[in-house]
Subunit: 215 residues, 2 copies
């Protein structure tokens, strides 16, 4: 069983969206999803990140106690990732570190497209000089703004401009963009690879589980 932590407070069906995507892409996975309480706008600045970390820590521990084979922190900001990883006996995978890693396959000029002015720390750490720039779609301030036609169009427009600026790959930097399933559309409008964070976190978890069971 894989535990998936959502850093936005949501109803059950929405909370389980990433888990269902993961189960469709990785039929070996059986996922249980939990979201942190009292953060309906998710993590989108320093204050909301600070508030989220102890809640994430608690959920990770609960998944470990439930016997999870691994825990996915399904947020591109990877809030508290290194800290919580040290405390867990099972693999912990973050969406941000995973998306940045897989983006390196697809180009030397990586642009991130997220909901925060600056690229999340782990994108900078992994991509180093290959991270050219970060962008935020116009009018988007938190993951909820991605929903609906207005959000969708704003993401498409910004992705096009990244391609025009010389991107050879776009690493999405908010898992809300995975929730709306926009990566293939962005590939169609830009003609370059666009990496879906939930797909990437799943791949890296798959690797962690293979390595763990490799005898």
């Amino acid at each position: 069983m894989i535990g998936v932590i959502r850093v936005v407070t949501q109803e059950k069906a929405e909370c389980e969206r990433h888990g269902r995507l993961l189960e469709s892409w990785f039929p070996e996975f059986s996922v249980i999803s939990r979201c942190i309480p009292d953060q309906p706008e998710g993590v989108h600045d320093e204050a909301s990140e600070a508030a989220a970390i102890p809640k994430i820590q608690k959920l990770a521990k609960e998944f470990e106690e439930l016997g999870a084979d691994g825990v996915i922190l399904s947020c591109c900001g990877d809030p508290g990732l290194d800290l919580i990883r040290k405390e867990l006996s099972v693999p912990l995978v973050g969406a941000g570190e995973s998306t940045a890693l897989m983006a390196l396959r697809y180009g030397e000029r990586v642009y991130t497209l997220g909901i925060i002015e600056d690229a999340p720390e782990n994108y900078k750490k992994v991509l180093k000089e290959r991270l050219i720039d970060n962008a935020v779609p116009d009018g988007v301030h938190c993951t909820l703004d991605l929903q609906g036609e207005k959000g969708w169009n704003a993401v498409c427009k910004k992705a096009k401009s990244l391609k025009e600026n010389g991107a050879d790959v776009i690493a999405l930097a908010c898992t809300g963009m995975a929730s709306i399933g926009i990566a293939p559309k962005l590939e169609a409008v830009t003609g370059i690879p666009v990496l879906d964070p939930v797909m990437c976190e799943g791949l890296v978890m798959y690797m962690e589980l293979l390595r763990k069971n490799f005898k």
Copy 2:
């Protein structure tokens, strides 16, 4: 169906070894393996690489004609990879580029351990300044030398010395090391992650197929 190209001329059972590993790790995969003719010592220097490339090209085309969903070039040297990729309509994945990529998850000081004095080109290209050094086990000149107790012990000894030199991850740089399944043993003797090239090529192919089918 995934086509796997082996760059060493071998009997059927040995030729299919990587394919069987891939099928065990990725139950969605159905693999057909083919090896290049007339190179019983595989690819281990410039001359053997030059001889192999047109043969690999031919096998890749054959797999494409057979309807393969993707082709894996199961050699860490990635011989002819970029050239052949341009000619194919299906994803082509190399062991070298894949192992180097996944190694970036596990540390900043990556050492490669292979059969050639210098690290294969794609390890250098992907790892950049994170590739600290390359090593060859004593007495090993081609993939055949890895077989048997002498080869096994030489690889273990060299891996230990890489750890002592400051490696925080070892990226194996010959798929012959996957054939003998030595990665978990090396992790046990060194205490650091050791990446198996066949596992890594499989993961990257898995990603290629997910992206291709992602609608």
